[in-house]
Symmetry: C3
Subunit: 341 residues, 3 copies
């Protein structure tokens, strides 16, 4: 198969192509953004469960480590009545007793494999139903204290994820992020916090809907104006922002990423990318993304000077043992790419 | 991994939690409902085909036997023009010649592995299109006689499944269930019959729709009033009722199950649960359910004193050889649970 | 398992069945249409990507060869900004640099495994958005010349696929097919061209929609009148037409196929069937089709005297290494069928 040229090493053969475009696409060895973090999507909104035991989870942490992951983030500690650890507080609220203590499991594995664990706050579901964040504040006041008391001794407990997913139209979220972010930092001697909002782009549609895109999307100017206000409001309570990268078109990445980085710099936050490893363009919602698309998104984050790349998420969409066999191939393509650097 | 506590054995550590909630969740060794039956979904409405040969089917019966299944139910013997056995009558109606005689196959395998086979009646599709059951009565008058003549000699032929799936708004179904149930029993020397209706709850939406739930749902009082009328009408022709358990929310299970059991007792029927092993909460319709959810549903059936649990269905959603790899993990989780009892 | 009769060999036992129906279904040894071609769906509209490397692609060509495939068709050389080969022209238009030259890869593999490769034209996406074919004509004028110059030396370069998918309401397509088809033939010393339109039947709904069927469908008379006009217009520029076979119901196949073949004969074209190997009747869009359905469609094509059967497509829906495990079983069922002839 030696006749098959990997195009990336073949820039000289493309006379007539605009130079700036070439730079973007060909010199990827100086344009690399590696994935060093992943969400752990136990208690899912919309991703079917794999029914793994502790054995499969440990194997997955080994795969993550081999790929270079040093950060794992529990996407939420509970959603409505399903919870990840036996919270005395949440059980009193009517949540179901979980069969396994996943927080203990993930903290233990993170410690064993040298990773930093971020705890994702509880999501009551009320915010999704009503747009009102007060329930999230009320519940998480208790959850934060309980969790730190119960698990704060783990050296792998490395930070907090404020799990409320918002976009521009949720500016009431400022108060929630400020209140909860400050509480997280206070109980834990200043451990870092981060958020992962979405950009209100053309692919910002409901997972269960029959649509893939919508017409009413945000402009880059509106995005900047509205997020500037949000960043200003949460400054000091949020240490990093990791915008989800899948709701805009690929050719829009550079413009939005540049603005995001400028805003993060302005307010003293780190700018991460949440590189979605599932494909938003397909009727099956969702299966692993085409490697070419993931690479485009990662390289755009590098061009914008982002600080770190995390992914949603490894275990379904990039793991060699995922229930979706194309995830194993995505893992192999990513590892080939890393090895070629 | 010895630090990871299985919560089920750790009730003492949760002071402050309401006692009745603890009893429900912790003492599951006295609260167990094992699955002893499964549908066989050949000729499917909405579950993609696995394209198994007789070899894979025999392997699946071995897996079922290992899990404790003693009852297999052909969900329907035909749907519109596709049929499971070469019925002279249905071929005359324009149905397609089936490539394999699945009724013969399943009866043979049931006999070999010590299971009882229920034959599911033919579904012309007209009822789904028009709401009129007359076509189902007309066709199945012939099918019942033909099937008993052709396959009644199998010792594994253990009963009949009246395959028309109805809910509260289909009270015209009483006449169909009565007519066909009585005929089934008469030709077969009284072999038992059962039905598997659905509860008109929040998740009762079309499989192919873009929705996961609806607002217009039945109250427990309406459910009881309307089903009381149906049970009264089919008494004597139907020996067991196995409500599908997936259309209501998990915290509604106890209330509905209690009423179902009371009604079944009132009219002298067995009360089974059709424990759905696929997940109704996800955009991909359908993949294997999270084990935690299946356990919640089974334990609710036990609390209500149900007589038997069957599932829809083993081969796609719980089989080690399913096309969905998470089904194999669900099987493992179920087997771990059984072994822990 | 010797008691399980394969029905196909058992016609004598079905007295009372209409003779013409029997002929259709039972004598399949004289009624066989084997699949000898497949699309290669790299750059997909709606089929998730498998993330294969050259190694998996070569393995897939070996599987294809074992199944009897002699023709591979690149479904499109690009879609919007994603392209399959480093086209100087398309990169100038803002397309993304592809990570691998798939055209070179597929031509090389086709040569190695004795297959004929058809090159599918570029799809700008504008036609889908606006109904206007002019963009497709403008871009492909350059693409055709570039591709022939770059890859025309491959002995496996065997023809052109005019990738614009149309149906009856797209009669403006005549001009595009004529212009592009003639150009393809002129640059390549008359290599053949073909198209693969769809029939505007009940299953002609958008892949991403929540529907499986629609009410407003074409009659056989309208189909003939409108396609007669299209065939008349493209005569000489198009050598074969391969209607997609999945948009009509199975019992409609014979009537439509008969008309298609008559029209193809009238205008001197070959009549192929594009036998879809995915299932259009299921909520998950799309997974591998039930073998029984594929066989019905292939046999209908034989009865109509079709010249060749290709499929959309082998690598996802029939390959032993597909991400969908039921594809491997479909492959096995197909190979059993072939072996039984």
């Amino acid at each position: 198969m030696s006749k098959i040229t990997n195009v990336a090493g073949n820039a000289s053969g493309s006379e007539g192509v605009k130079e700036d475009m070439l730079l973007v696409h060909y010199n990827y060895k100086t344009n690399v953004m590696l994935i060093t973090g992943t969400f752990l999507d136990e208690i899912s909104h919309d991703i079917p469960h794999q029914n793994w035991s502790e054995k499969e989870w440990e194997q997955d942490f080994r795969h993550m480590q081999a790929m270079g992951i040093d950060t794992v983030i529990l996407i939420r500690s509970g959603y409505r009545r399903f919870i990840t650890y036996p919270s005395a507080y949440l059980l009193q609220q009517g949540c179901y007793q979980p069969p396994v203590d996943l927080v203990e499991l993930f903290l233990t594995l993170a410690g064993k494999y040298g990773m930093r664990f971020y705890f994702g706050l509880y999501d009551s579901g009320r915010y999704w139903d009503t747009g009102n964040m007060q329930h999230e504040i009320d519940h998480n006041r208790y959850v934060i204290d309980e969790v730190w008391q119960r698990y704060g001794h783990h050296s792998s407990f490395g930070g907090w994820y404020l799990s409320m997913e918002i976009s521009r139209k949720t500016r009431g979220a400022i108060e929630a992020f400020r209140t909860l972010g400050m509480q997280c930092k206070q109980v834990s001697n200043g451990l870092p916090t981060f958020i992962s909002p979405w950009i209100d782009g053309k692919k910002a549609v409901m997972a269960a809907s029959g649509q893939l895109s919508k017409a009413d999307t945000v402009s880059i100017q509106e995005h900047e104006r509205e997020w500037n206000e949000i960043f200003d409001g949460v400054q000091g309570a949020v240490d990093a922002v990791a915008f989800q990268d899948g709701h805009i078109d690929f050719h829009e990445l550079d413009a939005f990423f540049r603005v995001n980085k400028q805003m993060a710099d302005r307010y003293g936050m780190q700018c991460w990318t949440n590189a979605e490893s599932f494909d938003r363009d397909m009727p099956i919602k969702f299966l692993p993304i085409k490697w070419e698309k993931l690479r485009l998104k990662l390289e755009a984050a590098r061009r914008a000077g982002y600080d770190k790349a995390i992914t949603f998420e490894f275990s379904h969409f990039m793991s060699p043992q995922s229930m979706y066999p194309s995830a194993a191939h995505l893992y192999n393509r990513y590892m080939d790419y890393k090895a070629s650097l």
